[in-house]
């Protein structure tokens, strides 16, 4: 009987060791991907900032141009761009984003439609009764700049056609390797300009800059790029967060596995010792009987 337990323990140790190999590999992969994703997010930030500045500039000097994109509509239909991961095994990463989306829907009210990014997000929102704007962007990892710009263009077109009245992006902010916080941003309509800021800007530059072309047309061509840039940053942040969350999850899985292996080794040694003791007892009692 004792030999049977020993074999059982041995088999379990082997399976735990195998799992540990996988989780260890996943941890390493997540760490290296995380670094690259973080870099991509940092590299694209100047682009988004520059676009934001140009848009603020036009809005400061041309009140008519801004009205189209700052228009607040009653009983809005909101388009939620929800950025989640392609795979599970990343702790609460995906669920936290979905929870925040549900919370936002409650707070904003009105009707909703969804533009999921990432396979898990697409799976989550593909339910009967849900309106999906596009199913094209089902991979978070391979979503590049051109895809992000395409999404920007798409939502701006829908917004201008009044098919949607508000655009929210829900993503995960990468604070540090240990902390990733779900967050959201209102992409459209633009928040009204701060009047003090407008005054300040006009004081610093009392004349209007020269615009080549109509301010409305320039805004119309810059705004989709700005949204695309913002979406790209959110995507990179989310991907870095997914890797961070997976790294943490895999790290604790590794710790649990090595703890289990320690316990199993102890039990294995005890079982082995028990067999040896039993054999010695048998031999000694056998010798005595002679």
């Amino acid at each position: 009987m004792a030999a049977a337990t020993m074999n059982d323990i041995k088999a379990r140790m082997k399976s735990v060791k195998n799992t540990m190999q996988i989780t260890k590999a996943m941890e390493l992969v997540a760490t290296s991907k995380l670094r690259r994703a973080k870099e991509r997010a940092e590299n694209s930030r100047p682009y988004q900032t520059a676009l934001f500045e140009a848009i603020s500039d036009i809005r400061t000097y041309s009140a008519t141009a801004e009205s189209v994109f700052a228009e607040k509509r009653e009983n809005p239909k909101t388009c939620y761009i929800v950025v989640a991961g392609d795979r599970g095994l990343a702790g609460g990463f995906n669920n936290n984003v979905f929870k925040l989306t549900a919370l936002l829907e409650e707070r904003i009210g009105g009707s909703s439609c969804y533009l999921p990014i990432g396979r898990k997000s697409l799976e989550h929102f593909s339910k009967p009764g849900n309106e999906i704007v596009s199913e094209e962007f089902s991979s978070l990892q391979s979503l590049g700049v051109s895809n992000a710009l395409a999404i920007g263009k798409l939502v701006v077109t829908l917004f201008l056609e009044k098919k949607i009245d508000r655009v929210e992006i829900v993503y995960t902010n990468f604070v540090s390797i240990l902390s990733q916080v779900p967050d959201h941003k209102t992409l459209l309509p633009f928040a009204p300009l701060d009047e003090n800021a407008v005054e300040n800007a006009k004081m610093q530059r009392p004349y209007e800059p020269v615009y080549e072309g109509k301010p409305e047309e320039m805004l119309a061509s810059i705004v989709p790029d700005y949204l695309g840039g913002s979406i790209y940053i959110a995507v990179c942040e989310s991907f870095a967060s997914e890797c961070g969350a997976r790294r943490t999850a895999m790290n604790s899985a590794n710790k649990n596995a090595s703890e289990m292996i320690d316990n199993l080794t102890l039990r294995y040694n005890r079982a082995r010792q028990a067999i040896i003791t039993q054999e010695i007892t048998e031999i000694v009692s056998g010798a005595e009987a002679l």
């Binding site: 004349y207 810059i222 790029d225």
Partner: protein, 133 residues
Amino acid sequence: MSTFHLEIVTPDNRPFSGEAERLLVRTTEGDVEILPGHIDYLATVGTGRAKITVDKKSRLAAISGGFVSVSGKKVSLVVTTFEYADEIDVNRAIAAKKHAEELIKQAKDATEEAAAKARLLRAMSRLAVASKK
């Protein structure tokens, strides 16, 4: 020679950041050359080319979609793609052009066709810039 601070940014990186003498870009309204001391200015640029002069040496580049702005002493060229002429992979551009032509033939609706045409335009602009280096 007097210079101005030029920043070129794309969503991927920052291909140039430093002092430049002049910047020639094709805006949607026509070619514009920016020299030091330009008035505050903003113009959108389409798919085309840009010429940057630094230390009396000019470099040609293929650009697509974005804008150019002058704000005080700072000039920014913000575009979706930016490639120096000598860094353009001609074979890749030719392949991209062929691929775009295929896409135009296969396009099912107007949006697809417009996207494919924009692709073709970018590939052709890259080739044109690369041949002039």
